[in-house]
Point group: C2
Chain length 238, copies 2
Amino acid sequence: MQIMDKKSPIHITISERDDSVTITQWVYQTLRNAVMYGEILPGRALTIRELAGILDVSPMPVREALRQLAAENALEIQGNRRVMVPKMTAMKFSELCEARIAIESHAAARALPYIDRDQLSQLRALDSLIDEAQEEKNLAQISTLNQNFHRALYTANPHQVTLPLIESLWLQLGPFMRLATSQLEEHYLVDRHNEAMTAIEKKDAFALQIAIAADIREGIAFAGTPEMLHAFIENAGT
Amino acid sequence: MQIMDKKSPIHITISERDDSVTITQWVYQTLRNAVMYGEILPGRALTIRELAGILDVSPMPVREALRQLAAENALEIQGNRRVMVPKMTAMKFSELCEARIAIESHAAARALPYIDRDQLSQLRALDSLIDEAQEEKNLAQISTLNQNFHRALYTANPHQVTLPLIESLWLQLGPFMRLATSQLEEHYLVDRHNEAMTAIEKKDAFALQIAIAADIREGIAFAGTPEMLHAFIENAGT
DNA sequence: AATAATTGTTTGTGATCACAAAAGTAAGTT
DNA sequence: AACTTACTTTTGTGATCACAAACAATTATT
């Protein structure tokens, strides 16, 4: 079997496969990361057999992973049964950001009563890690740690129901955030986590919501000016 | 092959299969409805082969449908790889309701600017249908129409991103709403849709959010007093 | 009789095959 | 040259099989 490259070649970062997880799970994580990091261009048709060839697995696990990612809105199944990373528009991007703000500020407020000393120190640790990464201007690291910070905050609520929804939004925004930030040379990022931390310590739900909303908004702004984002998003994947 | 009934027997309402949809899609819809209408008890282990036998299809489409439903949080895959309808707790139920209010009121406000004359009349039609169903005390009909009303409202926004998340929440609450309402004999339901309609006509986003939030809250209250819900939810599936 | 070891069964996972629909390609027509 | 038509290839879907892990039941052991 020869290498197929019907359209643009796909490069997917492949990590070590752990025998403790099923092949389907590994494929799922691999493809999820590929989507999240913008390694797959929006609109590029993904076929089961091609991915199976790239990942060196049988078509079956790929099939299952694709269906799962589609159910999480990370991929889109068209009427023709073609699977692809959904194309983005400026309006949709905006809606995703607003949805993030609405849901995450709600999740933060709902988690607040459950934050005890241990979780507070865990958040503090993540906060200082972010500060370090910021000095080193390590973009990928900042993004990852930022996500971890948010996740840690929301999961303090033991009766968690919003995190899967939030992760779905991250997954949909991910590729375009990464693509956009990779185009920039200078990054301005005000650290709103400190504000969030003090709000948490004071158990001030409203202040926490403000801080989270600001953090998300500036995380977007961090990806560029609205004009840049607009121009970039609409042209992604062409 | 004999009838299996390892535990409690499962009765799933089976609809006609349309040849224009794939078997997987049909199985997905059938199982989704079964979950939504509380036909599958929480905690009951679902096996691929058993469902395949019940639905008279091969295991493959069931496999895919189960994975998709699990990705939508309608089903839960345990560590043991066992699949089941997630068990509910009063706290989780409460979190789901609060999440509904937060997200749906946001979705409503975001949809408001896009509602034109056609959509308004469509909403009005649904509203009067609900009024009719309410006089006939047709519970199932009311629930379905109520969902259609909310869906119609949110989908007015052409850059829709929240509906899949909202549907996921409906799916998680569905079984317990149905189970709870089926226990009641008397139902009190104030129609908040009229309030929503006037808010829409006035393009008053804040009033609309209030109306939607109230509608959701009373839809829950409609399912019984908090004590009843609590007692019922915790015992469901035993 | 209670617990541990063993055997038999069921189950999810993954691989492979068959097939119809879709997409791509080449030849033929206007 | 633009479009249609016929043919070839590719692709998703679904069925079936093999296998190891999980589960259930039975037997053996203390």
